[in-house]
Each structure stands twice: as structure tokens, then as C-alpha cells.
Symmetry: C2
């Protein structure tokens, strides 16, 4: 039995592949995808490709036009802002709940993750984005509310896309300090402080992304 987890089905594999291509920005917004072409490139049939496309479409990464095809969804500045606003509300709720339910195990996980993040090479964008995402997922999990956790994860996908397309990597010392403050408030069990700290953190990130998106728009890179 292989130690690594490889896709159980071909469709799952295609999904993972396309998702990666989309999130890393290798596929450009507006670009048409043809099932046949993808199937040939990946050496599978159209069926699993279709299935993967449908799933990605429902997650908002692709847009299906009936009987015409599927294209990579662009993202507008307005949509990005809207996403961050909702994310702000949900993640501060998660942080508050995490503070309420905190215990020693949670404290250990949080501080451990915090350390791991400080150890990341500041030059390694992808790694930074990955660990940052893990941090937010961790807080969501510690909220103890599975529905909330799921939603945060769903939103993080769009957020990740925004981050990568805009090269947003909040690697500043400020970001680290914010993370530390969140962990500290949760560990202390201070609900309001935790929610407040998370809210500020997300707001800061929104500001960064907003600036970059404005710049990108002026360059005509995005819609």
C-alpha cells in the first residue's frame, strides 16, 4: 500500500490537477477549456474530465455556459471585497468560538503552528500562503462548529485565488504579530479579543489585496 495518498478515482485526480492549475494561476481568467483537449492531454476520457469541471464550476472557479463550454472565471475587485467581508465575519466568529472552547491541546496546536510559520522562508510565497491558510483552517476547526469550518474552507479557496493572482503575501512582521495576537487571545480564552484580533487581521489583508487589485485593474490584468 502506497504511503502517499493518491486519488481514488480518475475524476478525483483530474479535479486535483485542474484545481492546482487554477489556484496557481496557470490558467488565465476568461480562457476557454475544451473537454476533449484536456482529456487528451491527461490521457483519460472525457467523462472524468467533465465530472471534475462540474465540481470546479460549482465551487466558483469555472463558469459553464450551456452547450457552449466552460471558461475560467475572472474575478472582479467588488467580488474580492465581498468575499473578504464575509470571511471577516465568519473567521472572527470562529476565533471567538475557538477561544470559548480552548483547552491545552488546542493551545499546543496553535503555538506549534505559529512556530512553524515563523520558520518559513520569507521568499517562498507558495509555502507562506499554504501555511497561512492552514492557520485559518486550524482556527476554524477549533471553533468546534463543522458547518463554520466547511464554509471557511470553501471561502479560503477563492481567497487563495485572489492572493495568488495579486501576489498578495502578507509576510511582513506585522502579519506575524497579528497571528501571535490571535493565538494569544484564543489561548487566554478571551472571546472578544480573539474575534477582534482576527477581524483586524482579515481587514489588513483586505487592504493589501484591494491595493493590488486596483493596481492590477489599471494594468488591465483583471476585470
Amino acid at each position: 500500500m502506497p504511503r502517499f495518498q493518491r486519488p481514488q478515482t480518475v475524476a478525483e485526480g483530474v479535479y486535483q490537477h485542474l484545481r492546482r492549475e487554477l489556484l496557481t494561476g496557470r490558467l488565465e481568467p476568461g480562457q476557454w477549456l475544451r473537454e476533449q483537449e484536456l482529456a487528451e492531454a491527461l490521457e483519460v476520457s472525457r467523462t472524468p474530465v467533465r465530472e471534475a469541471i462540474r465540481q470546479l464550476a460549482q465551487e466558483g472557479l469555472l463558469q459553464i455556459e450551456a452547450n457552449r463550454g466552460v471558461r475560467v472565471r475572472g474575478l472582479s475587485l467588488e467580488e474580492a471585497v465581498a468575499t473578504y467581508e464575509v470571511r471577516n465575519r465568519l473567521e472572527s466568529m470562529a476565533a471567538g468560538l475557538a477561544a470559548r472552547n480552548v483547552n491545552d491541546e488546542a493551545r499546543a496546536e496553535l503555538s506549534q503552528h505559529l512556530e512553524a510559520m515563523t520558520a518559513v522562508d520569507p521568499e517562498d510565497q507558495a509555502e507562506h500562503i499554504r501555511t497561512d491558510n492552514e492557520f485559518h483552517a486550524l482556527v476554524a476547526r477549533l471553533s468546534g462548529n463543522p458547518v463554520l469550518e466547511e464554509l471557511v474552507e470553501k471561502l479560503s479557496e477563492r481567497v487563495m485565488r485572489v492572493k495568488i493572482l495579486t501576489r498578495d503575501v502578507n509576510v511582513s512582521a506585522d502579519a506575524r504579530a497579528q497571528h501571535a495576537r490571535i493565538v494569544e487571545a484564543i489561548s487566554r480564552g478571551d472571546e472578544d479579543a480573539a474575534a477582534e484580533a482576527m477581524s483586524r487581521h482579515v481587514s489588513t489583508n483586505l487592504q493589501i489585496v484591494e491595493e493590488r487589485l486596483r493596481a492590477a485593474r489599471e494594468e488591465g490584468v483583471l476585470v
Copy 2:
């Protein structure tokens, strides 16, 4: 273009059919669905059935077990509570934003909907649930945040399922009063009051659902 609205694709039709069956509780939690059987019953091939199933699975109504099949998802009391907690947060956010962005058109839509709801026959459960859902969807739309709107809609699906399975129909005069209070606060442009009113409303509904779910659990109807 035809004036009447029929599903654009067969898959869409199957999706609508199954969704209806699930939301109205005609399909019981835990029950296995076989693609072949459904395809024969609806006189279509397995392909569109598969597509519909995948979509419903991602929406959380069905659960796929790889290479084994798909079954109707049950719902636990804990999950219902978790859903309502998130819904509370999101919908009160929506109400607050709606109050912030309110204008005459929005005021008109809200009062119009309020009237329509008072005109519903108190005996007609299904109609009541439908209009109530429309009300919440309307508030979400008036928030002006499309992401928020989408999430509220997604959650409302699970909520609707809870409502129907537990026969929750908050038709009391109290519910009407709460709706009126929400509309009033939004129309006045009072963000905090609108958010507060919506939060109370959702909390009330949660209490009702919680009681029914406990009763149902003791009867062994649900998980």
C-alpha cells in the same frame, strides 16, 4: 426562446426532481440510491442522473461513498444547531448591511413581501416555508454582497430540510411580529437594530427546531 421555463438540460431536470424529493422528505435519511434505478424511473440514462447526484452531494444533501454508492444524508441535532449558529451570524450581517444600503425600492419590496406573508393560509405548511425562505433570501440580496447572498442561500437549503423533517413551521403571531420588526429596522436604516432583530428571529427558530429535533430523536426518527 420559449416563454415557459423548462430545464435546459436533462441533468438539470433530474437535479430539480431529486432536490424536491429530498427537501420534501420523500427520500429518507440513510436510504441508498442506485443510479440505474433512478435512471429507469425517470426514463433517462445514468449519465445525467450521475451528474445530478454529484451536485446534490456537494450541496450536502447526499453522501457519496466511493465505489459503493450514494445515500441520503441524515442530520444530527448537533449539525442542525451548528447550521443555525452560522446562519444567525450571516443573516444578521445581511440584515445590518441591508439597513445600511436601504432605499425606497428596497423598502417597497420588503413591505410588499411582509404583506404577502400575512396573507398565507396558516394551515399551508409548504407555502409558509417557501415564503419565509424568500423573505430571508430577499434580505440577503438587499445586503448588496453577492457572496453573502450565495452563502445564505446554500445554508437555507439545509435549513429547509431541517424545517420539513421536523415539521417546523413558525407560524405564530410572534414570528410575524419578528419579521415586521426586522423590516422596520431595515427600513429605518438602523443597522444594529436590524442585525439584532434578525439574530433574535433566527435564535427563536433554532429553539423551536431544537425542541422538535430532541423529540424526534427520542422517537428514533432521526440520528
